[in-house]
Symmetry: D2
Amino acid sequence: MSAFLQVVGQASPDDLSGLRALVESEQLDPKRIVAFLNKTEGNGCVNDFARGYCAHVLHEYLSGELGPEAAEKALLIMSGGCEGVLSPHMNVFSQDGPESDQVTGGLAIGAGKTRDFKAEEIGRMAMVEETARLATELMESLSLSKEDVHFVQIKCPLIRSSDVTEAQEKGVSLATTDTLKSMGYSRGASSLGAAVALGEVELSGLDDSKILGALDLYSGVASSSSGIELRCCEVLIMGNSPLSRSPLRIGHAVMQDALDRDAVVQACVESQGMTDGNFDPEKVANVFAKSEVDPSGMIRGKRHTMLQDSDVSGTRMSRAVVGAIVASVLGRTQVYVSGGAEHQGPPGGGPVAAISWI
Amino acid sequence: MSAFLQVVGQASPDDLSGLRALVESEQLDPKRIVAFLNKTEGNGCVNDFARGYCAHVLHEYLSGELGPEAAEKALLIMSGGCEGVLSPHMNVFSQDGPESDQVTGGLAIGAGKTRDFKAEEIGRMAMVEETARLATELMESLSLSKEDVHFVQIKCPLIRSSDVTEAQEKGVSLATTDTLKSMGYSRGASSLGAAVALGEVELSGLDDSKILGALDLYSGVASSSSGIELRCCEVLIMGNSPLSRSPLRIGHAVMQDALDRDAVVQACVESQGMTDGNFDPEKVANVFAKSEVDPSGMIRGKRHTMLQDSDVSGTRMSRAVVGAIVASVLGRTQVYVSGGAEHQGPPGGGPVAAISWI
Amino acid sequence: MSAFLQVVGQASPDDLSGLRALVESEQLDPKRIVAFLNKTEGNGCVNDFARGYCAHVLHEYLSGELGPEAAEKALLIMSGGCEGVLSPHMNVFSQDGPESDQVTGGLAIGAGKTRDFKAEEIGRMAMVEETARLATELMESLSLSKEDVHFVQIKCPLIRSSDVTEAQEKGVSLATTDTLKSMGYSRGASSLGAAVALGEVELSGLDDSKILGALDLYSGVASSSSGIELRCCEVLIMGNSPLSRSPLRIGHAVMQDALDRDAVVQACVESQGMTDGNFDPEKVANVFAKSEVDPSGMIRGKRHTMLQDSDVSGTRMSRAVVGAIVASVLGRTQVYVSGGAEHQGPPGGGPVAAISWI
Amino acid sequence: MSAFLQVVGQASPDDLSGLRALVESEQLDPKRIVAFLNKTEGNGCVNDFARGYCAHVLHEYLSGELGPEAAEKALLIMSGGCEGVLSPHMNVFSQDGPESDQVTGGLAIGAGKTRDFKAEEIGRMAMVEETARLATELMESLSLSKEDVHFVQIKCPLIRSSDVTEAQEKGVSLATTDTLKSMGYSRGASSLGAAVALGEVELSGLDDSKILGALDLYSGVASSSSGIELRCCEVLIMGNSPLSRSPLRIGHAVMQDALDRDAVVQACVESQGMTDGNFDPEKVANVFAKSEVDPSGMIRGKRHTMLQDSDVSGTRMSRAVVGAIVASVLGRTQVYVSGGAEHQGPPGGGPVAAISWI
């Protein structure tokens, strides 16, 4: 068993030239692709069509290479929003690739999809439970213990305008009728699903009111991103497995707030297995972080203005901030930062993972 | 001679409660105020009325305390835009305050205003020359050599819609008819004025076409901010003077790009006169930095999207980025980052200064 | 008794030149001013400081003219947002001005303020009841029957970030913790207050859940605008009173949706007392309309995108739309359109009033 | 010869369900499609990927139906931005469809593409000349005299960030280095091309400086829309041809400003050949209009704020305004309004065409 990560820049949401080059030069076999985890350049909010566009051309490409059925298997997780220095790119996760002879305990990845959710299930317990079930299943398939899991990336749906209209006609209640807010409910519920699977939160202690209601309940490894282009949850689990001979290893930490540079460094250090607190940025394949507007309205005891800015969504600004912090640690800007960290790390903070060459 | 800096948060552009508290507790004598250098919370672009509002209430307050004539003397430099973690605050510069017995070579500040500019002079050589003249005059009055100067803050005007209309009626040409772009021309021309005064750029090598045309000509200490609320340039010069017994000292460096964290550290180190590369964040009174969207469309060799985002001005995003970097160095968010660094540091970078308690 | 309206353009939120000119030419006696109803040019959402700035300079001006105590009496109702063709202007309402000999049944106006509301009262029954009480009181003072009332303008508070933090600390529940949404709750509750006073809605049929919950309950004459610069509700009531000898008369209609041009025409026709369906645009002093994004996501059976646009608030777009419709009826752009019509007219529509010279 | 128009709503940029339904019910034969003229729901500015996404799925669909080569022939003109009430939809133009026995002088359409332009040609004379050449060719092929032409829709390229970088490296000058502004240059140059073809402007009187420099030179029928997804100009010419037996007829007028409702009515009246000034909205297939922020900063003698709003592009607001005006004339919202009318009608105004069932 082995897992592999390649990072490819994009000049636009439909630019596959970098991906094609990898395939044509035989550095990547499309059959081995498990998931794309992309930073696309829309606004990352409701009317962001760059995510769907990129997913569409990727699906089209895979269909051409693998046939329509095999193409369905790869997860296409598009996280919108490249604010500030963040540079649009794909993280291509593949398996059964190059193995390292000497190593075990390398990177292992598993991917799957839940069933489609009804609008009234989005951001509620049905989503928590179904996501927990899938995450547990994936861990078992990789022989990962809870401690071995360092990142659980989830792509989850949102409630659309048309869902709201339909629900009102049917008299069905939704978690929220605000399409932008529904992204937060969906991220929150699916992240709590991961937390349940990993034993971070007890299922029995949860109900609908806790979702966005009890933000002290969270996962330290979940990373959820919401989009209009799907109706199910797609889950990509990452850990270090005793069975894996991957030349890569993953580590993680939890940012306590948007300025917690030390946590980014710690994730890098752990991924390289160093004990002296140092790491080699050149050996980091990529960093994956969550960002969030601190819901208290304060950072380090002082007021921020992101909750009061009616011109720019705070989600966008928080990505710009965490993107700058992560980029300053690595000295480069093709880093993955996804906005909205409800139940992912403490309020205002979020999980951060690093994958390094051993 | 002595110069002093106090940092006061604001809950809104018209919130003077912190300032009043300083005065009422006799920590600040309004008569000694030389300049306000504020981070206000508008969009920092053309239609940002938070700057004018804050300046208005400050002027009103000073008039009440000092009488209308004395109130005119204090510079009211409002830099708009508190994106990301940046927290709205005032930097209150005063003089002839508490002196330190043991020290010379402390912080000295000088302030002045140019004449009002006509719309057709904004962003052109008339502005360069007049700003250079005033900066030179201020340096002489403080006995500052060119090497002693570490920051030249300038507030400069912009070209308004009504200016464009008037110019078209009169058949007068302007540097630009785009009000947002005029902010850049004005910052560029006034910064080149500072560069000329400090011997960084030769006046004889300049003409109108060089302003925004030759970005390799720049000042390493100028920081210009443009606003709709004034027609002249206001200049605040800061240096370490042999005559000053201030308990504060200033240092500076030049950020080579938006992620140049080392330059921020270096400015702090220099301000504390340390030789081992360390500094004490607690002793830093504040950091003053410029931010700018890299005009090449790239940062560290990878594409950024700030020049193509038609929803959010790149100026706003660049403040969010540099604000995050500076805040992560100091561990706090009431830091001063002003957007638009044309002819202020290299393209994509900008000057950064730190003022510390000795 | 008489009431009077003068319309004055503004070049910026602090531009009082037009107002001063009216006073200096003795066309307006500041002592007679009852209320300002201004269209200011911020974003009309939470972080819109143009409203506060304009109110501040108006208060300052009135204090200088009338003394601080008398200055408190004039209502300063600032409605933010001049999108599209809307042109920033003041509507200056005054009383006891020029009277017409022949006429009775002319325009009468009354103004008052409720007590300040606690954050937890905003958008709830306390606000409904208190606003109803004040509106009833004002009607009685003007001898206006319910049928005589054609417009009830209300300026109401919003829940601020700091309110949210405080409430969370105290464990107090708020109508919403979203500052932008709180504007809607506040407009809704205060408008229901007017509806109760006018007998359009029964108080006994209302509770907190109905506010934004039962949008089929509404006033056909209420117009509420929310802002960060006040904590009470300010109410300005307008009607045609048998006691008034004003040379102006008011009429109103209810727009059924944002494109209901006929309702705008009808309000103008009624204000001029015409029976043939015609009116003279030159005789219209001004039109006052509400706008709202249709919450169904549809207009005339087709999808609109305003609820899914995460870059521009739908409130702003809806003002642009209704502003264009009203301006096309009058052939001019200094018209008053205020965004957010919760419980003001049917969902997607809103009241519109016209004041004309008889 | 015959030309036909069908209007189909879209629930998202990749929604082809309406188009598929037309084809499946045999109301439309894909082989007969000449051009799509779509209103898509992005921001209509530089980083609007909804246009490209929609064009991509349309191309994919046509390739599946017709084979890749035939699919290339249909023009895919995507005009971004559905602000305010505007509802996303496709205008499907086809030819050789149902003919009317009694009629001649019906709608005729012709479509073609210029060669790809280099970045340095965009917004300059090369674009004017090449577009004029193509338009003339298309007119001849349809036997249209200049008076018979009522609308010339052009989709033109823009200068991208990468073009700017490349040009700077090569030392090549561009019409502008601002990607957003380049959209205006490109629209302006291609519209002047149409004006030359139609004899509205003399080619000999033009040079690069006139493009955006002499806005009194314009076409009364050109409508240009700029996008990142193409490098050539695509031209769709529409007129009433003596050879055409189409059941549709086209008429046009020129809006003098954004509020010129009468011009919209006039275009509808002309398209129905009425002499009494009336028309039947039910018989209008669709209206096609251009919108533009009045560059003078004024509308009907009063200030507008669209040029000073740094949060929302004026192009977006102007579409909201003209969209509201057109929709109020027809009583429906699937109408075509495209932003940016440089050299298309007088400054602040623009051409408007209506196509009606005879």
